[in-house]
């Protein structure tokens, strides 16, 4: 079991780095997903109203 520390350190570094990276991406991904949802909802709401406005604004001219 000579030099076990080095072996342990090497494998720990690899897995800690990968878990941290995945964790960060996952957190950002879920935040982005929520933001995307809310924007999509807003766009749907806006799209409905402006569609009417645009048609009414264009019809007189």
């Amino acid at each position: 079991m000579e030099h076990f520390g080095y072996l342990f350190a090497a494998y720990s570094v690899i897995f800690v780095a990968i878990f941290l990276y995945v964790g960060f991406i996952w957190r950002r991904q879920s935040a982005l997903e929520a933001e995307l949802r809310s924007l999509e909802r807003r766009l749907a709401a806006l799209g409905g109203s402006t569609g009417e406005k645009e048609s009414s604004a264009h019809s007189p001219s």
Binding site: Y6, L7, I14, K53
Partner: protein, 235 residues
């Protein structure tokens, strides 16, 4: 849309990783000369393979971005360079942890170490450009150009560094350990580890890529909303 593929890839990565870990720590015989530290090698080499593969992918994505355009290529290059830097850093760290007990030093300017370090610096510069500049199509073009130029540089770096070290042989590198895999089980373990890391690479790349795609969509949606608002205001 690609969520199921993402999850399936994640799951197979997990399984492959567990198998690889079992092989490395339970199954494979201990190398006679170097002892237990030699087992670092089974994860060190796949890290290097993944790093090189992602840097190649960066160049390919860059070429496609300049040739065809399309944010998708830029996002792919961006994801690849990040994952590549992660594994390149791991190569350097695990290599160092292996070199200390075997070569007696954390770092030596051996040709492979030097080449990896130069690559790390090159793609680090590329990442800094990505981090400091804002996300415009112009910056994406810059990143593509640097990705291509860096890939062109890789063979020249390899040749020159090798020549540099053979002319100045390091006393420390007399024992080229870790390459004589005399037991077939060692080869099998290495191959399984490489497969596990390839899956891991694909999964990480996909995760990061999906995030960047979302960001791109978010930007497009925000622009669309702003445009509608502006039109509504003008009307």
């Amino acid at each position: 849309m690609s969520k199921p593929i993402q999850n399936a890839l994640g799951l197979s990565t997990l399984v492959a990783m567990l198998v690889a870990l079992f092989m490395v720590f339970e199954w494979v015989p201990t190398e006679a000369e170097q002892g237990i530290v030699q087992r670092i090698f089974y994860f060190h080499v796949p890290c290097a393979w993944v790093a090189f593969a992602s840097f190649g992918l960066v160049a390919v994505a860059g070429i496609f971005y300049l040739w065809l355009g399309g944010q998708i290529w830029d996002d792919l290059g961006h994801a690849a360079v990040e994952v590549g830097m992660l594994f390149c850093t791991l190569v350097l760290i695990t290599g160092s942890l292996w070199a200390k007990p075997i070569w007696g030093t954390w770092w030596t300017w051996d040709s492979r170490l030097t080449t990896t370090f130069v690559l790390w610096l090159m793609y680090g510069g590329y990442l800094i450009l990505r981090a400091t500049a804002e996300d415009t199509p112009q910056v994406s073009k810059f990143a593509a150009v640097i990705g291509i130029v860096a890939a062109l540089d890789v063979p020249v770096v390899i040749v020159s560094v090798r020549l540099w070290r053979t002319i100045h042989p390091a006393v420390l590198v007399t024992r080229q350990g870790g390459h004589g895999l005399e037991d077939p089980r060692m080869v099998a373990t290495l191959l399984v580890s490489i497969a596990a890391f390839t899956l891991l690479f694909a999964w990480l790349l996909m995760l990061r890529f999906a995030e960047l795609r979302m960001r791109t969509r978010l930007g497009a949606l925000a622009r669309e909303i702003a445009l509608i608002r502006f039109r509504a205001g003008a009307a």
